[in-house]
């Protein structure tokens, strides 16, 4: 019900953004989106953990394996052959994507919201080409390029971290995840430099239409990177504590998918705002 309501709200606000190019509608869409993502991430964290009565002992390994084997057999796979979270195995035969359905619903809703924002940006650019050309000229292109490469490198390190965890190499996985968090931190640091420079030159949210979009689109992306870094930090603690094994990776896969979503959004945002404005 929550998802259905949120999707209706997103589509309505997104339609308003696209047809009218109203920045306040864009902001509202992102606010609704942010609230939804928060709720879904909390739900994800709860849903991903196997529930057991308070005070009871954790299940022994035999029980866990039997349960996994039973579930895998239901979905048509031999559970005791491949790791339960092996992305190349289970996902292709069932509707469950790597990371789980819930995080992919979040990803699609996020993509729809940012798509509405980018289309609204393109519509407004056609109405004020001189303003957008001047705005693009004021952006720091080398810094944006560096940020793109930093985010892509963060995606690469996280992919390696997940692969290492699947090979039961917990220590290597932790190092790769630290690399991803460092890339997130570097991205945020470079973004802070860029934002400080814009504010120093008076290019704030209300400077013109271009910078209204610039602050809203890149600002909401920065919020996503912040959230993703926090999620990776929590996952890293879990990995180092030995909470995740090669057979129990749903949380890590979900967090990794959300982290890669930041790459994905930036790869759409970067050419639209920085290269083609």
């Amino acid at each position: 019900v929550l998802l259905a309501l949120a999707v209706v709200l997103q589509i309505s606000l997104g339609g308003l953004v696209v047809t009218m190019g109203v920045p306040i509608a864009l902001a509202s869409a992102h606010q609704a989106n942010g609230a939804l993502v928060l709720v879904l991430l909390v739900a994800l964290l709860h849903a991903a953990r196997p529930s057991r009565p308070a005070g009871s002992a954790p299940p022994d390994m035999t029980t866990v394996m039997a349960d996994r084997s039973r579930r895998s057999t239901v979905s048509g796979m031999a559970g005791n052959v491949a790791p339960a979270s092996d992305a190349a195995g289970e996902g292709a035969s069932s509707l469950e994507p790597p990371g789980g359905v819930l995080v992919w619903l979040v990803i699609f809703i996020e993509l729809l919201t940012f798509a509405a924002g980018l289309l609204s940006f393109a519509v407004s650019r056609n109405g004020e080409p001189a303003v957008f050309a001047a705005g693009r000229g004021a952006l720091n292109q080398p810094l944006a390029l560096a940020n793109t490469i930093v985010l892509l490198t963060g995606g690469w390190t996280m992919a390696n971290g997940l692969a290492s965890l699947r090979r039961c190499s917990v220590e290597a996985s932790g190092r790769w995840m630290m690399g991803a968090i460092a890339c997130g931190g570097l991205f945020l640091a470079l973004k802070s430099v860029e934002y400080a420079d814009k504010l120093r030159h008076g290019l704030d949210l209300h400077h013109d239409t271009f910078f209204t979009f610039y602050w809203l689109l890149t600002g909401f992306h920065v919020l996503h990177v912040l959230a993703a870094v926090a999620i990776l930090g929590a996952l890293l603690r879990g990995v180092r504590a030995g909470r995740y094994t090669s057979r129990d990776l749903l949380d890590v896969e979900s967090g990794a998918a959300f982290w890669h979503l930041c790459d994905l959004i930036w790869l759409l945002l970067y050419p639209t705002v920085y290269l083609l404005a």
Partner: protein, 89 residues
């Protein structure tokens, strides 16, 4: 026992391709090619987004429904942005 490699080949090849495509897009961003230049830049962005989706986010292992939904969303956005960019201002 042979030690397992810590760097995975597929993500590394994907990362190299992504960085190269980014550098190409960056160089095209300042190219004086007129209104035709958005098409290769946006096409490059769509290829990069697909690589992230299929390789990093592991959509390649997901059910075809997720793959199709992802590509439909990306292509719709890319085509719409391209048409808006090419339309007379």
């Amino acid at each position: 026992v042979k030690p397992l490699p810590t760097i995975s080949l597929a993500p590394t090849a994907t990362w190299v391709a992504l960085v190269l495509l980014t550098l190409v897009s960056y160089s095209l961003g300042d190219a004086p090619l007129g209104r035709g230049v958005p098409t290769p830049i946006l096409a490059g962005a769509l290829v990069k987004a697909s690589l992230v989706g299929f390789m990093f986010m592991e959509l390649r292992a997901a059910h075809v429904v997720w793959k199709v939904a992802f590509m439909v969303l990306l292509l719709t956005l890319g085509i719409a942005l391209c048409l808006l960019r090419l339309a007379p201002g």
